[in-house]
Symmetry: C2
Subunit: 336 residues, 2 copies
């Protein structure tokens, strides 16, 4: 079978399993993002249109940022009741389902479908549709919705467009193809509001988040190609609690043309220091994070260090300097 | 004539003028942004494909951020030589052309075309194609390129996609329709790299730009739904010259959930104050800008005021407060 034939075959099998179900259990991953929630809800609404009564489960619930999505209030945090089909969306492996050992064994004999786009997907279900070229699991769900013959409406389209928009950071990731823009246009024509999704899911932070950026940027520093800043406990307390403000800030630090790597040091209430590291393509900050007991990807990694803040900073900066020097020497050697 | 018939009629007239020209002078506005430069270059390349020798003029030259665009090095800062047709792109009025009185009178008897999307366009040319529904002048230029029968290639497409991407802040403004995404997909299929445009034009700034954000955010203020900040001459001098740093900053101010409108006040070297205004959908800051001798769109407008900074701030804040109060009262009346 060619890859395309295999894809169609899997779609057919998934369609048959779904058509035979009455009360499927839809699961998305722990610590969910916009694609996890959007894909879960989009598929949920499609099954409702088919007359089914799906249960939508996410162990950690729906983050407030995605409250605006239709059906967000129907997501449960306990996989209650009986079910005749398990469908995982955006889950790379069984651990990401957030199910207890009891629930896992209870569901073990049910047929299962795995809809995902992660290259690390373990193929844990009876039917696995893992499209690693999709920018979001929402794209994979859209394939299923089409295969099921459910007409797109504004409700389904809003959920799926949220998945595409958030996983591509608003069409900014390098994997956005013309097809992605065309699918987004199709979802908009079906009634999804790109402006609302941008506004709710991407382009909105509490004023206290701006205050946090101001506090962090007040400590902005650069040494050659390292850009860094920190947030003290006092500054965080002054601004008030903000979820995820740091994520945007460290990416902003990296946006300096001169930067090869960026670091943000956040002093926690217990005095420990969260370290967020980012790198431009070609660099690798995961080695530095791992050397300090953390982890991550080459371009985005992190670790937690004991305080005080200035000592944690000095440790990380020392390793970053050494890392950049090594890479520069490797580069010189390579060019000889 | 219907609006569509008028549009086609103007396109025909513009096409006839362009076909009869040999050495058109293309002008874009002073203090150019990505749409100004992208539209200028995209149209320039299309005319080159037709065998013409256009002169591309922008008084303030090409900001480094747009250096990556093909042909950026051909833009001149003096409108030298003879010309048989003047084409203004992205210029709302004659003042924005940046021409001296001498040059203006020299060019006065040439036929002229005005390609733009600003609602405040004064229609100053012999043929005016002002599509206020276009998200960027690049969209208007694309209409002309199609009307001229020039096939899209990667060079033209890159310039025009840069215009669309920068004027919509990466498809984030409220006026992005499915058609805009489809046009962007079409430009990508013609060879434009969305990833490169994002990286070069949106996601990169000199370190001095980060320093400017830090300086601006240090003055961050909020009063109800108005968020504002300023950049003093001293702060700007300390950071070093950064073109366009303010654009991103005022949008960031508006990203506060609590904000309905945002303002950034930038003190120039001569003591005058540039005012950038932004509004959430449903609000309109263009009226405030126009009342102060400026202009723009409902959601993005600006003006220049005499200093000192604090007096300029007080004037604008007074008008913004009055405007928000009026709208609130209008809203109450409407709901009765």
């Amino acid at each position: 079978m060619t890859a395309e034939e295999q894809r169609l075959d899997s779609l057919n099998q998934a369609q048959a399993l779904i058509s035979a179900a009455q009360r499927p259990l839809l699961i998305t991953h722990i610590d969910p993002d916009g694609d996890a929630i959007g894909s879960l809800l989009g598929l949920g609404w499609a099954l409702v249109r088919l007359g089914q009564s799906p249960v939508l489960y996410c162990r950690d619930g729906v983050p407030p940022r995605y409250d605006f999505l239709p059906g967000a209030d129907r997501v449960v945090t306990t996989p209650h009741g009986s079910t005749d089909l398990v469908i995982a969306v955006d889950c790379a492996d069984i651990g990401r389902l957030g199910l207890s050992a009891d629930d896992l064994s209870r569901l073990n004999d049910r047929p299962s479908i795995n809809l995902d786009h992660h290259v690390t997907n373990t193929g844990f279900a009876s039917v696995n549709i893992v499209d690693t070229e999709a920018v979001a699991s929402a794209e994979v769900v859209l394939q299923i919705v089409d295969a099921l013959g459910v007409p797109l409406d504004a409700t389904i389209a809003t959920c799926l467009l949220c998945g595409i928009v958030t996983d591509t950071l608003g069409f900014r990731t390098a994997n956005v193809t013309p097809r992605v823009l065309e699918q987004a246009a199709r979802l908009m024509r079906a009634g999804a509001s790109l402006a609302e999704i941008n506004e709710q899911a991407l382009n909105r932070r509490p004023f206290s988040g701006l205050c946090m950026w101001a506090a962090g940027l007040k400590t902005l520093r650069r040494e050659d190609s390292i850009v860094w800043a920190h947030l003290t406990r006092a500054a965080r307390a002054e601004c008030g609690p903000v979820q995820g403000a740091e994520t945007g800030l460290v990416s902003f630090l990296l946006s300096a043309q001169e930067a090869e790597v960026a670091a943000l040091f956040t002093e926690r209430d217990d005095g420990t220091v969260d370290v967020s590291l980012r790198a431009k393509p070609g660099r690798d900050v995961s080695a530095v994070a791992m050397a300090l007991g953390g982890g991550g990807h080459p371009l985005a990694a992190g670790c937690t260090l004991p305080g005080p803040l200035d000592e944690a900073e000095a440790r990380v900066l020392g390793l970053l300097r050494a890392h950049l020097r090594e890479q520069a020497e490797g580069g010189r050697y390579h060019r000889r």
